[in-house]
Every structure is written in structure tokens, then in C-alpha cells.
Symmetry: C2
Subunit: 511 residues, 2 copies
């Protein structure tokens, strides 16, 4: 442990230059202090009325700080003020949605079983609800400085569940992270909550220390397969393992049927171009592998896609390391046998990248352990791989080789949609992903009760979601009270339901 503070710099990705020193890397002692401070907030957070008020105040103060926050985030990420403004709106909306959920209390999942001596074994009085796990470690994402960062969905859902957080800031936006946590702490202070309710640490080593801290009870992560898997492994290897909800990587396959291509090749091509280049291709749900028929209609689709991509202005990626990885990743893929590059993997200037398009015949992806397996790995940035298939068997063979995904998309013709003839094909896509879409694009993850943002490994390391109200489930565990006198029961479980919670009593839903 060094005695000399290691500075954390805020970098402008448009120039690669240092903007300012945003913070210092957290030492082991600093991580320990942050976790212990968070732990002291567990008690005060137990009051649901305080919790929801805190979340609403946080949303209000983030809204008030909008001009500074958006400008700061843009200077660190180059994502643009329009996109970042929308992202901040989403973040505030999310905080308010979780505040409403805290008030409603459904997530407490109260279940009451009255005694039943006729059962084998007899059923005593049992009352079960969910309680917070404890301090949650949140590993912020690079590509959403607001919505999947300090005050993003992981933090909002953890706080809603009653869990204080310690956020590991992403190095791509340390100043934005500091500014955001300051807002959260101002909101906390207004409701008498300790500042430690939202901790923030910087630095790679701090992240490793954090996941191993004995008082950390669960963790969430949004990022790369390599980083996420290392933290997942560390969480599992602890003397006392903890739940680790990581979102690691996703190809987000798209299948275009023959009739769909025949019907609207150009629409699909231009729609795909917009989706895959949105945010300079830096979305976890970017469509990264697209199965297109190897026929004339498919040719039209690829042509329209390529033409649209050429018109997309080069963009600045989140940092120069990512830019280099994108350029070399596209280059390496383009040099594989039979891979063509209708839109060449040309970089932009020294700080930007241009979109790229690769195509490959489906039979190249059928064999395992070949060099083309590289095409089954996510390449972060504005590139997609179009796989041309001759027949359904070839398409199925490629689908059978895919790792788990956040999304899988099917484009069908109007007739296939209305007749249901594409149902079998859709049923083959569902096992590959946590969200399946028809005739639309996966970018844009709505915050809604029915949302599921997760999927088979490596999309996520657990079966839970990081977006939508069920995201709170990750931070709770059930506790059952048996034969407990009314005066000793938590109010949530008392017979008369003094808090007016929705609950299930002897199999019947109430409220």
C-alpha cells in the first residue's frame, strides 16, 4: 500500500488530453473506510419512507444539476449533450420509479401461511418477507456515465432494496462520478442519512479490494467479459461467497428471414445501420451478428446497410484504449479467410473511428474452434458481422454456436408475423437471450416493470435483470418468522397489515 496518493485524471477523449485531476485512487484503507461507512447507513435506510424520499430528492437534485452534469459527462465521454441529457432524464425517472416501488412495497414479497395442523408435517404460523442483504458493491459501466453508473440502475435498485452502496467509478468518467456522488450525498443529508450511504472509490486495485471485503454482501458489474469474469471469480472464491450480478458481453444476434429481406431489405439495412452506430456502437445491446439470406434480397439489404454506414460521421469512442481495441479488433476479423469488408475498417482521424461492416458465409461459423470463432466474440464499437446463410439449416447451425446474449432479434415478413409461421424460429431464439424482439432493434432499453436486461452467460452471470423494477430482487433475501408473537413481529408481517402492504395470505393475494 503506497503512501503516495495516485491521482485519477479526467481525460477528454476528443483530444486524449488530461482535463483535470478528478480524484485519487482509493487505498485499501480507503476502501475499508467506504465499506464501513456504508454499513452504518444500513440501519437508517431501513425506514422505507426515508428511502423513497431520499430517492426522489436525489432525482430532483440531479435534475437541478443537469447543465453542469451533462457538460461534465460530455467532456469526459464525448457522447454528446443530447444523448447525455436523455440519459440523465432516464436516470432520474428510474430513481423515481424505484421510489414508487419502495412505497408500494411489493418487492418485500410478504407471504403468510397460517397454522394448518392437517398438513404433513403440520404447518406452524409462518410469515416471510425480504430483507436487504447489506452493502452492495456497484462497478460502474463506461458507456452510461449516468444510467449505469454512480446513480444508475444498480445503485437505485440497491438503495430501493435498503442496501447502501459503494460504487467503483469507471475510469472513463471520474469527475462525473464525483459530481454525481456529491449530489446523492446532498440528497442523503436532507433526509438525515449518513453520507456513507453512497460511497465512491477509484482505481483498479480498489475494485479488487472491494469485492473481497468481508462486509460487502453482493455486487453488480457492467463491462467486459474479462474484467467481469475476474470479479465474478473473486466473489465466488471469498471465504463467504457473495452474489455477483455481472453483465459481461453480448453479440445480440439478429435473424432476417428470406421473406423479410424480400419485403423490406432497404428498411432493415438502414434500421440496422442506425442501431449499430448509435452511441458510436458502444451499447451492450448493439446488434453485433446479423444472419441475412445469401440471395438477391439479402444482397440488397447488405447494400443498403453499407450505404447508410458510409454516411455515418466518424465518432469519438469513450477512451483511446477502446478505440485502439476497436480498430485492431475489426482489423483482425477482416483478415479472416472469406471475410469481406463492404465498409472497410478504416479509422477516422487520430481520435475518431468510422463504422465498419464485415460479411462472412455461414458455413465458416459452423466448425468449432476455428479462427472464425473470433466472430462470435463481441467487438465493442460501430461494427457488425453479417453472416450470409444459404438455408435454414445453416442459420440454425450458427445459432447453435452462439454464446448467451442480452437480446435476440427476428425480422420477419408481415405474412410470417400474422400467420404465426415464424413461431418456431422465434422459439429457437428465445433460449439464446433474455429479451427477444420482432421487427425492431435492441438498442434502447426501456425502464418498465416487464423489462428484462440479462441473459445466459456471458450476457449476465446470474438470472436476474439490471433494468426494470425486478432489479431490486438481486439485493434481498427472504426471512421467515415462525410462531412469533405479534408484538415481536416486524410491522411488515403483523396480522392486521398495519403498513397496508400487498401480500399473499394462505395462497390468496391481498392488495
Amino acid at each position: 500500500m503506497s503512501a503516495i496518493p495516485v491521482p485519477v485524471w479526467s481525460i477528454d477523449p476528443r483530444t486524449g488530453e488530461r482535463r483535470e485531476q478528478a480524484a485519487e485512487e482509493a487505498t485499501e484503507a480507503a476502501v475499508d473506510a467506504a465499506v464501513r461507512a456504508a454499513r452504518t447507513a444500513l440501519g437508517p435506510l431501513a425506514d422505507r419512507a426515508v428511502r423513497s424520499a431520499f430517492l426522489r430528492t436525489a432525482a430532483g437534485l440531479l435534475d437541478e444539476a443537469r447543465p453542469e452534469l451533462v457538460a461534465l459527462a460530455d467532456s469526459e465521454t464525448a457522447l454528446g449533450t443530447t444523448r447525455l441529457g436523455g440519459e440523465l432524464t432516464r436516470t432520474c425517472y428510474q430513481l423515481r420509479q424505484f421510489a414508487d416501488a419502495v412505497d408500494a412495497g411489493s418487492f418485500l414479497d410478504v407471504i403468510i401461511s397460517h397454522p394448518d395442523s392437517s398438513a404433513t408435517p403440520p404447518v406452524p404460523d409462518l410469515r416471510r418477507y425480504k430483507v436487504p442483504l447489506g452493502v452492495v458493491a456497484v462497478y460502474a459501466a463506461s458507456n452510461f456515465p449516468f444510467a449505469f453508473s454512480v446513480a444508475g440502475g444498480d445503485t437505485a435498485s440497491a438503495l430501493a432494496a435498503g442496501c447502501p452502496v459503494v460504487v467503483k467509478a469507471h475510469p472513463d468518467h471520474p469527475a462525473t462520478s464525483e459530481a454525481t456522488v456529491a449530489v446523492l450525498r446532498r440528497a442523503a443529508a436532507r433526509h438525515g442519512l449518513p453520507a456513507g450511504v453512497a460511497g465512491l472509490v477509484h482505481g483498479f486495485d480498489a475494485g479488487v479490494t472491494l469485492v473481497a471485503h468481508p462486509l460487502v454482501a453482493a455486487a453488480s458489474f457492467t463491462g467486459s467479459v474479462r474484467g467481469g469474469r475476474a470479479l465474478f471469480d473473486a466473489a465466488a472464491a471469498r471465504p463467504r461467497p457473495i452474489p455477483f450480478h455481472g453483465e459481461l458481453g453480448s453479440l445480440n444476434p439478429v435473424v432476417v428471414t428470406g421473406p423479410a429481406a424480400t419485403e423490406r431489405a432497404e428498411d432493415i439495412g438502414t434500421g440496422l445501420a442506425a442501431s449499430m452506430t448509435m452511441g458510436v456502437g458502444q451499447f451492450c445491446v448493439k446488434p453485433g451478428l446479423v444472419l441475412v439470406p445469401a440471395d438477391a434480397a439479402g444482397d440488397r439489404l447488405v447494400k443498403a446497410l453499407g450505404q447508410s454506414l458510409v454516411d455515418v460521421a466518424p465518432g469519438v469512442m469513450l477512451d483511446h484504449r477502446m478505440r485502439d481495441a476497436f480498430v485492431s479488433g475489426v482489423g483482425e476479423r477482416s483478415r479472416l479467410p472469406s471475410v469481406e469488408t463492404p465498409v472497410a475498417p478504416a479509422p477516422g482521424d487520430a481520435h475518431t473511428v468510422a463504422a465498419a461492416l464485415l460479411t462472412v458465409p455461414a458455413d465458416r461459423l459452423a466448425a468449432e474452434d476455428g479462427p472464425h470463432d473470433l466472430l462470435l466474440e463481441e467487438c465493442f464499437g460501430p461494427v457488425t458481422v453479417v453472416v450470409r446463410y444459404e438455408d435454414q439449416a445453416q442459420a440454425d447451425a450458427v445459432l447453435g454456436r452462439l454464446p448467451g446474449n442480452l437480446t435476440a432479434t427476428l425480422h420477419v415478413s408481415a405474412q410470417e408475423a400474422s400467420s404465426g409461421s415464424a413461431a418456431d424460429l422465434l422459439a429457437r431464439l428465445a433460449p439464446l437471450a433474455g429479451r427477444v424482439l420482432v421487427n425492431s432493434w435492441p438498442t434502447g432499453v426501456a425502464v418498465a416493470p416487464a423489462q428484462h436486461h440479462g441473459g445466459p452467460y456471458p450476457a449476465t452471470t446470474s438470472t436476474s435483470t439490471s433494468v426494470g423494477l425486478t432489479a431490486t430482487e438481486r439485493w434481498l433475501r427472504p426471512v421467515a418468522y415462525q410462531n412469533t408473537p405479534e408484538a415481536l413481529l416486524p410491522p411488515e408481517l403483523r396480522e392486521g397489515n398495519p403498513l397496508g402492504l400487498p401480500r399473499t395470505v394462505d395462497g390468496r393475494r391481498e392488495g
Copy 2:
């Protein structure tokens, strides 16, 4: 991989002698065949009507085979025909409860969000429900040859969720396991399900192979910390990690307050004796550490406990290895400084064990990493450790040192219960366990919707339960359908709710 089959013997624990060859250890090829056979049952199991009918038929056929099954299990476990008859009844009840749950469909957790263009980002049509994960590996317990074994809660909940199972038989009851799986397969055949829907493998190596099999999607385990942790680690280390729901070990602490001891020392002492010796102390919820005041009332409690224990007839443990571990475990604990043995750790005859009682002053457990830490580890069998505490600070110090538990029990006086003055103490117990009890005993785990059988590590390796209807949650993952035309939607998610499922639509519960 040996070409010579390795026999699996059925052993009579009352004599230690071989009864018969029950099976052979599964080779790697046999494990692979079992998993692949299970995989083929995933499609047929998708029909919920078939699933519930199968579970009910299985319950009926197990009931019909009762005389043979109970006699066989008794010959392999020495648990007695009364207890085993009750356990089989429980097992059948559990299968029927899950059948009802399959018909009701609540566990599908259908949530529908209709489009909302006013949200940021806009909400498309989203419909989410839960789908089965795939083949589940079930590691059977030693101490419940029916209820936590081949047709037990893990299997029943997995099948209810739509997941075929491959059970790793416990070596203490291979013949019972074979007889039970034969019944399950007869039930499967009646409903046109392939026999592979319930696979069975024997042997330590087979268990290791099973958890690593690429087509195994999740696992459950009930057993020791050492075995469970090794399998947990293997599940986490897979190229594609899988959920591992292990129940590993639990001390099940009990706290007796001063007023409770004063009020009913003898009742508590005799009740504890009955609970800790039930089933020869071979319950995962056996009260293994009891905090008793170091005063005259506490002395009365310990005396009553000791007298009751002396009257308990020696019992046969599940196998001789466990018997040896119990005898040496009690011996080792009894030789620790300041540990007294009011009921000496005397074994019974060569095949039985007698109950034992150890006491220790609370201050001996306050220091970390001392030799007395051994008392904080579960000792399987009829023994409990009574910790005598001088004041609440001492009791709290011991509670602060406990690992996670399945249960925590509080004994209070009538006045403490009715006034609520013990609420703070109960609130300190709740973080330690998944089920808290007041003025009762943890043995006897009811099968009820509000049950929670799980707890902080090492009680369980996840936040889920292995008993009660929510046990199905372990084997499911959500999938959301976005903008999917009605004709392509699974019937569970169609607008008109053709299956009549309970669901939440735009935040409102239906059904």
C-alpha cells in the same frame, strides 16, 4: 475411466454389513448419457398440463409403493419406519403441492408493460415471463432418503419449473434411490415423458463430472460444508458458470433469555433435548448452540436438559463414517479448555451413539481464531453446545461470531413476548438466519408457501429456499418479448390471457 464396473453397495447401518449391490458407479460416459437423456425431456416437459399430471401420478405411485419403499429406506438408514413413513407422506404432499403450483402458474411471473411513449426512453410493448433453465443436477442428502433425495423438494421444484433432473444418489441409500427413480419413471411413462426426465447416477466421481457437464444448467445440493463448497467452486469455475443452490451447514443458534429460563427452565430443557436428538440429531436444523444464562435458572435448564438426554436411547447414525465423525467430533470439543460435559460423549455399542451435552462459558467464544472456534462448526449428530452467558454483552459477542444459519431461535418469557421488550433481541437474530422462531424448536420444516429454508453462508450458497413453493424460482430465468406480434407470442404472454394465468399488467395484478 475404468472399464470394470465399480459396484455400489447398499449397507445396513445397524450392522455395517453389505445388504446387496444396489447399482454401479456411473462412468463419465454414463453421466453424459444421463444428462443428454434428461435434455431430451425438456421439450415434452414444457407442457404444463403434462407436468402437473406427472407430478400427481408420481405422488400416487410413491404412495402405492409405500411398504416396500419405507422398509428399504429403513434398512439403509435406520431412521425407523414411523419417521420414514411420515417423510414419504411429506414427499408426496410436496409433489402434489408443486403440481397445484404448476396448474396455477404464478411462478411464471407474467408481467406485461403496454407501450408508453411518454416514458424516457419510450416503453415498447414488453411481455415477460419465466422459462426453465434446462437440466438440473440434484445432489441428494444423506438424512432425508425421500424428502431431500431422488423425489424430494429439489427434484419436485425443478420438475415443476419444467426442468428435467439428474440426481446424484447419496451413498447412504442407493437402493432406495434406485427404487424411487423407478417409480418416477413409471409415472413419466404414463404421461408420455421420456425416462430420462429423471436420471440417477452413483459415485463421487460421477458427482464431480455432473456439475461440470456443459448441458447442466443449474445444481442443488444438501450436505456438508466441505462437499458442498467443492461443488460450488466447480460450478463457479466452469467456462459457463451455473447457479449452485447448496445447503451446507448450520449451527441453528438458540438464545434463552433470563426471564424465559426463570419462567420455564425445565420445559425449555426437555424441549431442547427432544429437538436435538430427533432423528439421532441428524437434521440440518438441529439446535447446535444454545445461549443460556449463567445463573440459577440457567443451571436448572441445563440440569433438565441433561436428565432428558440420559433417558434418550442410543441411536444408529446414517453410516459408520458419520458415527466415527460424531464420536471424534464430540471428543475433540469436550477436551477444549473450560468445556464441561454434563452428559459425557460416550458412544453406544459398536453401531450406535448416545446423546451428548457440552457446556462452555461465553467468554471462551469471544476471541477469534482460538481453539474454541471449533464450537462454531456444526457437529452432525445428537449433541449440542450450551454457552453460558453472564450478561447481554457476552451473548451479543457470541452472536456476533456466528456464521450464517438456517434458523435462529429465541426463547422469551410471556411478559417479554406480549410487551414486545424482546423485539430488539429478535432483530439481532434475524440477520443470522433464514428462519427465526420464538418459543419453539427449529426441527420440522413445514412445506408451506411462507416457508424459507435457507440462510446466510454457509447455511446456503444462494439467497433462495429449498423448501416451499418459492423453491421453483431457482430453476427459472425471465425472458422478455418486445414488440412481438400476437401470433408469435407464447400463449402465456398473449393479450387475451388464453391460459388464464395470474399476471401483472401495467402495474395492476390480475388473477
